[in-house]
Amino acid sequence: MDEYDEMYGIEDDFEQQFADELEVMAEMDREHPPGVKVSEFRSKKPISQTFEEAIVSGDVPLRKSVNNQHPESISPPVCEEEESLTPKPKKRRQDVVKKLQFGVENCDDITPPSSPEVYDRPARDGPGFSLSLSPDRSAATKITTNVLDISGLTALQKSPKQVTTARHAQKRPPAIGDYITVTDSMGNRVYLNKKEDKEKAPDPRAFRNSLNGLGLLAVPIEVLKEQIAERRHRQVLEESQRLTELMNSGISPELLAEEQKDSGVDGDSGEDEGLSSRLWVDQFSPQHYTDLLSDDFTNRCLLKWLKLWDTVVFGRERKPRSTPADVRSNFTNAQNQNQSQRFKTKSQMTEEILEAELDQYKRPKFKVALLSGPPGLGKTTLAHIIAKHAGYNVVEINASDDRSAELFQKRIDTATQMKSVLGANEKPNCLIIDEIDGAPAAAINILLATLNRKDSREGEESGGNALKKRKKKQSVLLRPIICICNDLYVPALRPLRQQAFLLTFPQTLPSRLAQRLAEITRRHGMKADTGTLMALCEKTDNDIRACINTLQFLHSRGQKHLDQRSVNSISVGLKDQNKGLFSVWQEIFQLPRLKRKRIGGDSFGGFDEAGPKDGTQRLQHILHLVSSNGEHEKLTQGLYDNFLSMKLKDPGMLGVCAGLDWMCFSDLLNECVLHGQNYSLMRYFPFLPAAFHHLYAANSVPRINYPHSNYEAFTKTQHTKNALLAMLNDIPPAVQSRISISCLCLDILSLLLDLISPKLRPVNPQLYSTREKQQLYDLIDTMINYNLTYRQDRTPEGQYTYVLEPNVEDVVHFPGLPPRRQLTYQVKQLIARETELERMRRVERAQQKRNSQKTETVKKDQEGKKTEVKKQTNRNHQQRLENIVKQTVVESRPELDFFGRAIVPKEKPAVTTTSEDGKGGGVVHIGKAVGNSDVWFRFNEGVSNAVRRNVYIRELL
């Protein structure tokens, strides 16, 4: 009972939540065969049983009772209406909207005006409905027997119907629009509006085709809707099944029988799910060496390498190689070829490594095998199987384990130095370190240390047999280690790479993979042709695991028959694999290669041939690619830098304009995201690359350059800004107040540079006429005011030039324009010197002006006390010194005694008088200060600290 309610409660919720969407969908799809989806999920519920059914079931009295409930409403016409307008819930909504708008006009409408919720609600969870469920009846039986029309239910079905459907019926012919007259069995005539619907439902198909050319949805909306309907259908079925099971546990054998009959349809899928709770990947993982799907050469190499350990691990002597004759001959042939080429192929290098001698502990040269390759190729499987095949007990360290340094050390030690003593088969361990590229560098260093460990007592050990050795030397690594990684070039792996036997996994052959997939599908009773499986392989990039998982997924969803379409439409097999930026750019700018048509592939080639479909698929592909890459900014820069170099076929440059528009859009979007933290907008980022793909993709392989323009522009901006700031900083405030950076570089600078390069004769300024002198003075004045000067610089060729400092010439110089007129070297030199001098002069003047007040006050005192006399003897430097001394004296704070009272300085007048004496004022002043003595000490420097050395005459001769 509860569950029943709950179930409907949920569905009702769904209806409410997605009412808008459903409405729109209904509008768009009005032309669609009526009632497909609606009736599909409706028909399962007792409410939505149509009136025809009710009438057929012959419940006339019931209907009457209903009429009694709503005396005003006219029920019978409803059935006719029902026929013409099937998508009920939407229609209802619509009508409500109508009604709200035209409420005044349709004043004679029969239906009781109410809110839209009221119309929907009673249909679902009206209290009458749930209450009238007879307590003895189980919910499940109601659902399963909805076709049987149990009388108790029909009444319930109808009461809501009454409310919902009688809306179009009017007693008078409507004032506007067409109408249909209907007479019911009672003889009442009503008029049904007709026109409204026509208006409301434009042909959605046409609408969509015109607008929706891009096909932004991967799957058309019709299909989506069907899927939703189907899902709901299944949900209801499952629910019913669950309920029946519940009921079966309790009661009624006859019900049970019924149930079983009913659930027979779905039963097998449930069983299957029970069976396939195990992952197919595990279920079908190869058990033997011969089952392996991966490349034979790789398998063989790894096995050979592992066999090299036999000597030290099992104590077996290595068999002298007896290669089959054909292999040998092949090998020699290849060698002959290579001797001419001088370089060995990679495979031969590998062979050679395997042929190489063992080291002093009879270990192979490389102690570690490092398998690398993209995920899902069976690296781990291979390692496990080969280790088992060679008779080892596999110990695996995974990414899920703790891989901190000390734990790693411990695990390596336990794995390589110990051996299980319990159990029947005591096998030596083989350590497999999976996903080592994720391990911290410290752990890898520990691994390396383990590899390179030397025995301290190796001298005495040289002759000992393997067993003895193992006992004595615990430290030397005597067990094979296999490491597995996806990315061989992780920085942490660099040291390991040099010491490891590298094996790179090639792609699995699609034919082999497809064969295996076919076997799996056959075993699970799925139907799939080879073409489909090949498509699956292609889609997953020959990732075995992804393929099998996809198959299982499809199978668990009850899909027994696989076809090309379903494989292509699902996004299951796609990995969240990061592709490099360059490959992403390349995919954006290059059209995908046309897939070869395969034999018997009429259902197959469908995707490649259909133009728009192909377009949508490409769009989806790019969207997926870009969103999985994630480096949106870099990606966009790359697009920006490269899109002009693509082969553009439009002479009107419309494509370029469109691309730039897209760029602007993306930029706005980015700004919006970053400024407003509106990250939900980020999902629209991938559409820029997609648009670029559609605009510029070509068949030829694009040459893509790494984007530099952004960085260059950035550095240039910095450079310019620095120059401007440097210039602006030292401009006197009077000038600075009127200029800002932008107006400096936009308005002032270009003209200013013209202003400061007047024509001057390159002669000594002494020879200038007064006018020229004035001109020079003005120039220098301007330059100083704008904080400009010339600085001598040495060009790389070794020539000396004068450049502006700060170099604002670059700021206003556009590339491609002729350089502006330059002053000659001499003139610049002259200007630089004069500027410097003028600057010094100004500084001095300013300083003197600042000091003048103080000196004047002091001088007044002096004049008050003494008569002038020695003023003229004060020479320049002396005056300055005096100034300094006075300044220090003046600025020293008045001394305060303990109580904070100022102590009247007594020596001060004496100081000034001594300085007036003019005899090296500073010295006198200081001499008086120390002890006031009239005697001073003059030191005789008579001692030489030079190094003495004996020099003999004979050395000089």
């Binding site: 002043h925 120390v930 003595s933 009239d934 000490f937 003059r938 030191f939």
Partner: protein, 110 residues
């Protein structure tokens, strides 16, 4: 044979003086001569190193025992001329390092 009587003052031993040896000279600032002027202060550090402050110079020296001690004598103008030892000099202070200036008035801002 001339007999010279050298005697010390009765009742007490002769005073002991110190010889001060300077590398350099002491100069009067005003050319008024050294006589009557205070030359400077002599101090000893805790370690017994003599420190002489002359003018704005400070000198560090050391105490050295004279190889041959000196004595100062006073002549008595009597008939047989006799001498009275007024002081003995057994040690000297040598100031031979370069004097260090004492800077008292450091200008705060030049």
């Amino acid at each position: 044979m001339v007999q010279i009587v050298i005697s010390s003052k009765a009742g007490e031993g002769p005073a002991e003086w110190l010889l001060v040896e300077l590398q350099g000279e002491v100069v009067s600032r005003q050319n008024t001569g050294l006589a009557g002027n205070l030359m400077g202060d002599l101090h000893y550090t805790k370690e017994g190193v003599p420190v002489l402050i002359v003018g704005h110079h400070i000198l560090y020296g050391k105490q050295v025992k004279l190889e041959k001690p000196f004595e100062t004598m006073e002549t008595n103008q009597e008939n047989p001329t006799s001498y009275t030892v007024s002081a003995l000099i057994k040690k000297k202070l040598i100031f031979k390092t370069r004097p260090k200036p004492i800077i008292t008035n450091v200008p705060k801002k030049v």
